[in-house]
């Protein structure tokens, strides 16, 4: 199973949101990191066919197992589960009613491969996302986190082969985030999961591969370990006073600032670092990678 992006581009007026992006997704979890406006949502919208490609060959292609997804049409959409960033609902529906409606829209009928009916699948999903107790209450009265869980449940409905999650853990408390992350990790064996987020720690825990998108292009890609290894010699810590922080921020990319007994410890990321800074070798993380590419 492969999802290929070949020279994928998209222009909105004079703004080129995506520039000739080429990448192949295979089963596994792909963390997609990028600042706001980097092109993450555009890429996702093109894959879900919620936005049209640029005309002609300029727009590039999206192929699933060698076939253009536009030609596959309904067959491709049948294997995609999508959770958008914006919380979109019919607020007067209950989660059960909403999922039943989505089941119809996804064309789910009869029993699935595991012999479960649609109702059983829905009940199971409601339990996974911990919404069984409020299955018949109006979504409009839910908290942000609860609405997020409803959205996730509908994306998982029908056991899609390609799961696209845009900020899936936004609004969830740490326990819920860990639960959802672990559940997604379990699913990844035979699925392509695209996980777009700003929460670097989510990707760090479960992503098999990470894509960093900046100004419509993939600026870096690799496993978390590979990306972290590339940061050797590019991360350091410096101790300073409060008065020095401003000057350092102006000259270098500054990550975490921690209070120490002898002052403030600033974590600096970059190709050129101050001589007095102490290189960090052991506990470099994806946040440093993010800072390096996006600050």
């Amino acid at each position: 199973m492969e999802l290929q992006l070949e020279g994928l581009s998209k222009t909105y007026g004079t703004v080129q949101a995506l520039r000739k992006v080429t990448y192949t997704f295979k089963p596994g979890i792909y963390g997609i990191l990028g600042a706001n406006g980097a092109g993450k949502s555009t890429m996702i919208n093109l894959i879900t066919d919620n936005v049209s490609r640029d005309s002609g060959s300029d727009g590039g292609k999206i192929l699933y197992d060698g076939e253009d997804i536009l030609k596959l049409g309904k067959r491709f959409r049948a294997i995609v589960g999508y959770m958008p960033q914006q919380q979109g609902f019919y607020e007067d529906f209950s989660p059960k009613a909403f999922l039943k409606y989505m089941a119809e829209v996804k064309g789910l009928k009869g029993k699935n491969a595991e012999g479960k009916t649609v109702n059983q699948q829905i009940d199971e999903l409601l339990e996974v996302v911990n919404l069984t107790g409020v299955a018949h209450k109006k979504i409009g009265g839910f908290s942000g986190g609860m609405k997020q869980r409803v959205l996730l449940a509908q994306a998982l409905l029908g056991n899609p082969k390609i799961l696209i999650l845009d900020e899936p853990t936004a609004g969830l408390d740490p326990k819920e985030r860990i639960g959802i992350r672990n559940y997604i990790a379990e699913l990844s064996k035979d699925k392509i999961i695209l996980f777009a987020t700003h929460v670097v720690s989510d990707i760090e825990c479960i992503a098999d591969h990470v894509l960093l998108i900046k100004k419509g292009q993939i600026v870096a890609t690799g496993t978390p370990v590979e990306l972290i290894e590339k940061m050797q010699g590019k991360v350091a810590e410096i101790t300073c006073t409060l008065d020095d922080v401003g000057a350092l921020q102006a000259e270098y990319k500054v990550g975490n600032i921690r209070q120490r007994k002898n002052g403030l410890a600033l974590r600096l990321v970059g190709d050129i670092l101050p001589k007095e800074a102490v290189p960090v070798e052991d506990n470099i993380d994806l946040e440093d990678v993010y800072l390096y590419y996006f600050e």
Binding site: D49, N50, K74, Y82, F89, D92, F93, S94, V105, H136
Partner: protein, 771 residues
Amino acid sequence: MGEVKRVFHKKMWILIAVAVLGNLCLFLYSELAGRSFTEMFFAAGQYQKLVERYENMSLEQAQERLGTEFGNIRKYAKILKQENSQEETKNTAQNEMQNSRTAENAVQKQTSEELLSEVDEGSREMIAYHQSLTAQQQTQLELQLKQLRSKLEYLNGYEASIDTVMANAENMKRFRIFSKQNTFSYSNILRTAQDFERVQNVELKLDNDKGADAFVHYNLMYYIAAALMVAVIYSLFDERENGMWQIVHNTPNGRTVLALKRLLLLAGGSFAILFLLYGTTFLTAMLLYGGVKDLANPVQTFVDFGKFTYTLSKGAYILRLFFLSWFILAAFSIILWALFMAFRNRNHTLICTAAFVGIEILVYQKIEVQSVYNVFHYINVVSFLKISDLYSTYINWGFQNYVFSVFSVALFFLTVCGLFCGIFAVMRYAAMRPNTKVSLLSRMFTAVHGQYQRVFAKYPVVLKELHKLVITGKALWAVAALIIIAAYFSTTGQITFTDAQKEYDKMYLEHGGKEYGYIEDYVQERLEAYRQAQEALEEAAAAYEAGEIELKEYTAAVSVLQYQRQVVNTIQEYQSKLSYAEQIRETTGQEIWLISDRGYEEIFGKYSRQREFILILALVTAIMIIVSESIAMEYRTGMYQIVHSAPNGRAAVMRWKITACVVLTIGLTAAVYGIDIWNLHHIYGMPYLAAPALSLTFLENAWGGLAGHVSISGWLMILLLVRLVVALFTMTAAMLVSRAIGKKGNRALMPAVLAGVILLVWILHQVTQLV
């Protein structure tokens, strides 16, 4: 100011503009009273001229002059009809009737020329004017003369009526049961005398107060103003649903200060809204009927203000009425605001308010003014919204020495309620925390809703799409408005039939229909009796000339003939119908039934056109508003991306939406015309539905002779089908426009599309008038 801008946003102003426009249309519709605009303008101008004719005379002179001129008009018309009707007769019997009229006139010896030479100049002038009008205009003129006559009788009798009240008050004091001091009866007598003494010297005159009268008695604008204030108050509570409550409540001026500002907003908002509605309606009335200069005359000039005991001019009354209405509207708004404060969920509050108003309407209708419980009739939402009726009603309540008018009691009660509710609302707003325990009412609503959701989850997907249209898309308001319009317009503006017409209809019901031999025989018998009376008169004339009989016997024969002629006049409609039946039989070979045209003319004949136009316009507008949301909603709720990326999220969802829209359209059409037909059936009945449609004379040439092939029930079905086609066409257009526009500008272009629809319906209306 920020709060004003927040509440009175663009959509609210559009709503207010639509309400003002709608109010003016309703006012004009109520003044049309089944006439066309041309007829209405003509009548308005004519009334003004009539008033100008008599207003400079004393009231007694005017009454006498009008009576004489009116009498002469009718006499002349009757004589002229007799003289001219030979040309109009359709059968031998009527010809013979006219011949014998000549014999009768030989006794009476009065022609139209003779009458003209006998009457005064004024009457001649009026007769000439009357004769220059069309038949419909003549009827209008006669009606207005009757109205003026009644008015002059009232004006002339006003002083005497006041003197009578004063004298009665004096007389009643002599009765022991009323003369006991420190009782309400005694105090009321004193108070009544005191009140009417104020107006004892009011001098009334004839003037053109039609505009002011129509305006003062037009109450719908208060209902519309109240509905708009409900929308304003509903909008005040947006913060409970958009998350702003938590933020606002946490600011220094976000509690008591804000609540006080909102109190002022309600007072100011009700002023502005009422001013717009009141002012535009008043202007329209004045433009339509004139009479601005007559606003300086006493308000007692209005016929039903005979018991109004304040010395105010009409203009002053109208101004005072505005401020009273404003006060009442503002008080209502504050009370409603307090109710919204009592409940957390504004939709629950609306439901409770609607239920309360429903009860008030029921109580108002069922409790009579003479009932011991009439306090619930007068201190009632409906009563307050008929402010002028309440203010002008002279009824006193009280106990012992304390006597109060019903209006002052009602106003006091409202003021106290408003005051307490205002204080409660301000304190409650300051103290109420955004996040706290859910109320019992909310829990109840949640439980009920939960049960509904269990059932709803199992609905087929098309019903879910229908739910989305009506509930998720908040179209219930449009549906409710449509039902109210259908119920209102199918029960108002109807014509009531005269006693003679009712007698005809009774005959049709009892002896008409398919077998109408009884009516044929009835007609023949009367014609035969008339012929016999004619023969008898001819014999009597010959005998009288020969000196064989006295004048007494001759005039007796004339009297018999005159009586028989009156009887024959009453069967003219049957004769006309029988002729029509004969004509249809000859031209088409079809046997029609003998039935009345009247009720059906109201239901789908020429008198139904305005009602039809309004109903179809309301229906297509509601369909446009609801259906155009079907696609826009997916963007608005953010669901578009999810649905569009699903396998059945394109063509299949579109099919479901179309099916849901078709079901909705059929449902709304059935509801509107079901209500219409139900009400009309209740008012006029629908006898002989199986009769051939051609039995109704006004359908003879309708729609290219289509009526010749169906029954009346079939004709009704055809009309329903045509309306359904128009509705489905509108639905299709709305969906296409909505789809083409997509997520941008659905709402911005809605007014433009609606205007296009209105134009389309107007064109259709003009076309159908040609049929």
